[in-house]
């Protein structure tokens, strides 16, 4: 039996860990009080690492519930969050779909739950590799969603998310997504921050009273989640969620700035992070792990004299409409690269839909070319990304639509089939 520590202990250190472990370290740094989890590939090592922390007494007071399904994962973190505790879980693909009902519930109850997502492709056919359709398909649930491009960003974004979600003006849940296996199972150096410094950055854990709007306390008996008649405040409660999504953009920007000031790592304005977007003809909007490799593709083409740049999309919800409009002002053509599908859409993948919507009814004339690639973990090589940029350059110069375009979208990296 390992003796429990009296308090959380963490000195600033750089360790080589998997992306999933970075998520687990972030939960520990955030002193989460209740964890509930169910294993799913490729999320498993998050919950394994957390078990290790809890079993070794490194997270004193933290309750870890190992439930029997993702539906119960979200139900139990909702129960725990309602009672006024900081909660955490992690899941993936099918787990998100199974818990979809409770995902709506968490947002409707305005619970600041943070969930790490090692994204994977929806079945069938079975797929466990990187694909953001899982998180993006939760678009209308009232959850914020962020993408990470690096191992460090997983750790950092989870910390920033608690600060944003628990703000009393916001009180919304959030997904922090990163590509399954590509980030979840590869190892990189990650800086784990000093506990005192993290404590000074994050809001303190919920007070004894819990959240301002919801509590489970016999001293203040109250009922939550009643049936509400159409003539009552249902519509107004929904509008309040929408309003919070408008407010949260500024909050994210502020928290990102504070984070940079304290920890020294820059994530653009929090919503988007531009890369070499000055003096450009064409740019791409890209998110998740593919963004990291795209930086190199941009560098190489810049070296060859092409005026290309990229924008890393860090948040899908809230969607940075204003930033996208500004980006569109700088270029004549924008490629939007989705590692996800939005079947039946006229406008490519889930993010290109949003980009087109953002630019609709503006005076900006930048064309948008949706690109879908890397579905279900299909490898996207550096060479391929350079070719995507080159195709955009050619399209911009000659007006010649790339030959692989299908229904207006470039499905890149298809196998040669009849």
């Amino acid at each position: 039996m390992v003796e429990a520590q009296e308090d959380f202990v963490q000195k600033r250190e750089t360790i080589i860990i998997k992306g999933n472990e970075a998520a687990a370290y972030a939960a520990k740094s955030a002193r989460v009080q209740v964890i509930s989890a169910y294993p799913i590939t490729p999320q498993t090592t998050v919950v394994e690492k957390l078990s290790e922390f809890v079993d070794n007494g490194e997270m004193p007071g933290t309750q870890y519930i190992k439930v029997e399904s993702e539906h119960s994962v979200f139900a139990s973190v909702i129960g725990a969050s309602k009672a006024g505790t900081r909660t955490f879980t992690a899941t993936s693909g099918q787990g998100i779909f199974y818990a979809h009902e409770m995902i709506h519930w968490a947002a409707g109850a305005r619970l600041p739950i943070v969930v790490a997502i090692a994204s994977r492709g929806p079945a069938p056919p079975w797929n466990i590799w990187a694909d953001f359709t899982d998180v993006l398909s939760q678009r209308d649930t009232g959850w914020m969603s962020a993408f990470c491009a690096t191992h460090q960003e997983i750790y950092d974004e989870i910390l920033m998310s608690y600060k944003v979600c628990e703000d009393h003006d916001i009180l919304l849940p959030k997904f922090v997504a990163y590509g399954g296996f590509i980030l979840s199972h590869t190892s990189k150096p990650v800086i784990i921050e000093d506990q005192d410094l993290v404590d000074s950055f994050l809001p303190s854990l919920p007070s004894e009273e819990g959240w301002p709007h919801i509590w489970m306390d016999p001293k203040r008996p109250m009922m939550f989640g009643n049936l509400i008649m159409p003539s009552s405040f249902y519509l107004e409660f929904r509008l309040k969620i929408q309003n919070a999504f408008i407010r949260v953009k500024e909050k994210i920007k502020k928290v990102t700035k504070e984070f940079e000031k304290i920890f020294g790592r820059n994530y653009g304005n929090g919503l988007v992070q531009e890369y070499k977007m000055n003096n450009v003809d064409v740019g791409v909007i890209i998110y998740g792990d593919l963004a990291l490799q795209m930086e190199q593709a941009v560098d190489e083409l810049r070296d060859q004299g092409y005026k290309v740049g990229m924008v890393k999309l860090r948040h899908f919800r809230p969607f940075p409409t204003e930033d996208i409009i500004e980006v569109a002002k700088k270029v004549k053509l924008l490629g939007v690269i989705d590692r996800a599908t939005a079947f039946g859409s006229q406008t490519g993948g889930p993010v290109s839909c949003e980009v087109k919507t953002a630019l609709h009814e503006t005076q900006e004339t930048a064309k948008v070319l949706p690109i879908i690639n890397g579905l279900g973990g299909r490898e996207v090589t550096l060479e391929q990304q350079k070719n995507q940029l080159k195709a955009l350059i050619k399209f911009n110069e000659t007006g010649e639509i790339p030959k692989d375009t299908i229904h207006g979208t470039l499905w890149d990296g298809l196998l040669e089939v009849e």
Binding site: Q63, I65, V67, E68, H71, A80, M216, G225
Partner: protein
Amino acid sequence: MDYWRLNKRMVKLKEALESCQEEYFLPGNSCCAGCGLELALRWAIKALGPNTALVTPASCLNVVVGLWPKTAPNFPFTNMAFAAGAAAATGMSAAFKAKAYRFPGKGWDEITAITFAGDGGTADIGIQGLSGAAERNSDQIYVCYDNEAYMNTGIQRSSSTPHGAWTSTTTKGKDRFKKNLPAIMTAHDIPYVATCSISEPLDLYNKFKKAKSINGCKYIHILAPCPPGWGLESSESIEIARLAVKTGSWILYEVENGIMNLSKASRSLLDTSKRAPLIDYLSRQKRFANISEKDLIELQEYLDHTWKRLEADLLCQDQYPK
């Protein structure tokens, strides 16, 4: 019953009534007249006291407690999705433990977490979450108030609907038999399983008191007749619940750490001759009005078989090394 025993019982009843004058499920709620659920919840919370936090998944209870912003329960109460009762209470109970760690001596670990679900939310859509909570020995009391169909949505059959009963989705009577949830929960080896009937409030009161004193996962299954769903006058629900017990259709017992004990109202019924005729129970309910002779015979056989098996179990249990 001799005078001394009767007197003792009356004293206990008097004590119970005096000790729980306080109401926690307040008048003005929108239960139907004669609602079994209302009595079940009222007596359960009287036994547990107000230091109780309740989760209810989708069921009549979501509605009868009051449309927003009206609130009938005078204790912490949260509504939940249909399949999510047991897991939400697990999370709540874990949060109380986490809060007890952070705010010691403030009584956070003394709050009783309770799930209060209907038979659909327990035996059908909620069984996975319940089984998970039981296997983890989640510290909560899980209560199933059993009105033997989906009454909230308009009397559709559930796996807890008895054989032969009319529901809006078994218009010729249900072909299958009632799922034995208390037995399934007993098989989870949780510290406490009990069955109750709204016709035996003192028995119910005592069982909840006992459940509160035990750590871990407790399961209590309450037969709670539904006047519109069963086709009863609102004045009849308690009488019908009592008949369910007297005929042996609903057996009252406790299983404490694996050892079963028949409760008083059911104990004498091991003697077949002490059981009221089944037809006395069925004939009072419109849902059995058109029951076929075949179904009637099968129900009687099922009842006899259930008791025989129970008797064998109890005999077998006596042979356990003490």
